[in-house]
């Protein structure tokens, strides 16, 4: 057996590499000099690259497929109702009249309620873990908070039905009705099952997302910002407010929007506690319905093409909203976690 021949002169010489942005690693492509030219190596490489390309294209294809199926199958409903679909109040499968407004309202209100509760808590936790707590506790604390993200949605729902809802109806709702009932947001019978319950369980579910992204963003705030604030005589809180939070605004916003995206699409836990009534009520004690829950409850029982396609159109709307929300959030988080260090180095 002869040893492999020395590289032939016509072989592409290794290029000087300019792109070192990925941990200083060089892109693999430019170094792949096929030493065994003409042997099985080259054919193998072509086949392998093609197979991997197919997998990569599959990822793109999945998104295209999702859009295609949703658009195609929501057609009948779109033709029947047009834009009125999103403004109509009536959800009447028997007479085939479909309006999605109560679901859109329920999704928006429950998600906003979740944000109102979750944002201060998550930012507080992130600030505490990065700026205040002793280094020893940082790891365990973030581990515990992220453990919340590992609990399946249906288990949250189970806990909410049997623990959260009774607490709400026995203690929290009577208290809110007494103190804030005059606002109109907190009146009506305290059944527990309500928009309020949905908002609270959603808040618990999105806290880990918002707080872990906020923590990441706070950690890339350059240390000299903190030092500068302290050197000017700031107390620790003033340092956090002026030197840290102000610098991390965009990234925290990204985390919040990512949490919003999750809340909008969350299905099971909400379906189990929101009451599933397609009505628009001012009071948070009243039951509601969300876009995701109506899909969960009615999809497998939908009879008739228009009914099914009306449900799929709700799915399409939900999909489009979450895509926009997520893209926005990714963009914000990327600009902060990637842009900041390089600007600090420059």
């Amino acid at each position: 057996m002869a040893l492999p021949a020395l590289p032939q002169p016509d072989m592409p010489a290794p290029q000087p590499v300019e792109d070192t942005k990925v941990n200083g690693l060089r892109p693999a492509g430019e170094w792949a000099a096929p030493v065994l030219r003409g042997t099985s190596g080259e054919t193998g490489d072509r086949i392998f690259k093609f197979a991997m390309l197919v997998c990569g294209v599959a990822v793109l294809a999945m998104l295209v497929l999702i859009v295609y199926e949703l658009v195609l199958r929501s057609g009948p409903s779109w033709h029947a109702f047009g834009f009125k679909f999103f403004a109509g109040h009536d959800w009447d499968p028997v007479n085939e009249q479909f309006g999605a407004l109560p679901f859109i309202y329920g999704t928006l209100v429950s998600s906003l309620l979740a944000l109102i509760i979750a944002v201060p808590l998550s930012v507080g936790v992130a600030v505490f873990t990065t700026e205040m707590c002793p280094k020893v506790f940082r790891g365990p604390l973030s581990f515990f908070v992220e453990l919340l993200a590992a609990i399946p949605s249906v288990v949250y729902g189970l806990w909410a039905i049997f623990v959260l809802v009774p607490i709400l109806s026995n203690y929290v709702q009577p208290f809110l009705a007494r103190t804030l009932g005059w606002t109109g947001f907190f009146d009506g019978p305290p059944y527990g099952i309500s928009m309020l319950a949905a908002g609270i369980i959603l808040a618990i579910m999105i806290i880990p997302i918002i707080s872990s992204i906020t923590r990441e963003v706070l950690m890339v705030v350059p240390q000299h910002q903190r030092e500068a604030a302290l050197a000017l005589g700031a107390t620790r809180w003033e340092m956090i407010r002026v030197g840290v939070l102000r610098n991390a605004r965009a990234g925290i916003m990204g985390g919040i929007i990512l949490g919003l995206g999750r809340a909008l699409g969350e299905t099971m836990a909400v379906t189990m506690v929101i009451g599933n009534r397609p009505e628009i009520a001012k009071s948070l004690f009243a039951p509601g319905y969300t876009m995701a829950s109506v899909l969960a409850n009615e999809f497998s029982e939908a009879t008739g093409d228009v009914y099914l396609s009306a449900l799929i159109e709700i799915g399409l709307a939900l999909f489009l909203v979450t895509i926009v929300v997520n893209a926005l959030a990714r963009l914000l988080v990327w600009t902060v976690t990637r842009g900041q260090p390089s600007r600090a180095n420059a």
């Binding site: 941990n23 690693l25 892109p27 693999a28 492509g29 170094w31 792949a32 096929p34 190596g41 086949i47 392998f48 991997m52 390309l53 997998c55 990569g56 294209v57 599959a58 990822v59 793109l60 999945m62 998104l63 999702i66 199926e69 949703l70 808590l121 507080g124 936790v125 505490f128 604390l141 609990i151 399946p152 949605s153 249906v154 288990v155 729902g157 189970l158 806990w159 623990v163 707080s211 005589g233 107390t235 990512l258 995206g261 999750r262 909008l264 699409g265 299905t267 099971m268 189990m272 995701a292 899909l295 999809f299 497998s300 449900l311 799915g315 939900l318 999909f319 979450t322 895509i323 990714r330």
Partner: protein, 294 residues
């Protein structure tokens, strides 16, 4: 040594106003309070889960199929096996594609096309699981004309792929370029290098990513509602409706029967234990199996 710590330097700094110091303490207290408020539900959920679940797990629960309404006893054995079956299908479909796409991104994807795939994967990660369920329904259920384990597997696979793709890419990029160069220097073809050197070195990380994706979809209920659909009996055929643990928990939780509530708690505990054990077992096996990669 700098002498910033001596007494005269300290006196030069004006004393911090009382109000500012109080604000500082108050805000520290507020931050601590938020931590407590966030950890309370976590511990409440886990203690309640163990407290309600432990008493309800027994031999019958783990070995029998559900009894009709009103009869005591019965269990979720078919749902446990059904879940494993659906997750198995999802892994068979999702893992090769996810890892392959990850390899493509890491080894060939440093370009616009690669960026497009990367962005798509991130976007797919944010698509609500119920929407994925609709798509699996449209693709599989409508073609087969009935609900099936395969449809559930497809839905879960679509959810696994983006996560696996991105973690595999990250793990492969961590492998030092020198290792690849050493392999090329020995005349090993590139595909062999990628599989036997790069992927092998990153095995432990790649598997961790797969397990993350697995754990994420194992508890998913929404995409199974109208794909796998659920079943009161045993089923291990891919083209038939199949029971799944999360589905069973959902059905029992919203039912009006105490006996079913009890079983829902037991099911939830079993679900979490199974997820944790599966993840731990695979990670342990990977540590033991590949030398130098752990």
């Amino acid at each position: 040594m700098p002498d910033t710590g001596n007494a005269s330097a300290l006196h030069a700094v004006p004393p911090i106003a009382l109000r500012r110091r109080i604000t500082d303490h108050v805000m520290t207290g507020v931050a601590m309070l938020t931590v407590v408020l966030v950890l309370v539900p976590l511990f409440a959920i886990f203690t309640y889960l163990v407290y309600r679940g432990i008493g309800s797990i027994n031999w019958a629960f783990l070995t029998q199929t559900p009894k009709p309404v009103g009869e005591a006893g019965g269990g979720m054995a078919n749902a446990i096996v059904g879940s494993a079956f659906i997750l198995g299908l999802a892994s068979i479909l999702g893992v090769p594609v996810g890892v392959g796409a990850g390899i493509y991104l890491a080894e060939y994807g440093r370009n616009r096309f690669g960026d497009a795939i990367r962005f798509t994967a991130d976007v797919l990660n944010g698509v609500p699981s119920i929407v994925i369920g609709i798509v699996a329904y449209a693709i599989v259920v409508l073609t087969q004309k009935h609900f099936s384990a395969l449809a559930g597997g497809v839905a879960l696979a679509i959810m696994m792929i983006p996560t696996i793709t991105r973690t595999t890419e990250e793990m492969l990029l961590l492998v030092p370029q020198a290792l690849r160069e050493a392999a090329y220097g020995l005349g090993i073809p590139r595909w062999r290098t990628t599989l036997s050197i790069t992927l092998r070195t990153a095995t432990s990380g790649v598997i961790t990513g797969i397990m993350l994706a697995f754990a994420r979809v194992a508890g998913e209920t929404a995409p199974l509602l109208f794909t796998a659909f659920g079943n009161q009996f045993w089923n291990l055929r891919a083209n038939q409706p199949t029971a799944a643990l999360p589905l069973q928990i959902f059905t029992y939780a919203i039912s009006p029967y105490d006996e079913w509530h009890r079983q829902a708690w037991a099911g939830a505990l079993v679900l979490i234990i199974l997820i944790v054990t599966a993840v731990a077992a695979v990670r342990f096996a990977v540590r033991r199996g590949t030398f130098g990669a752990a």
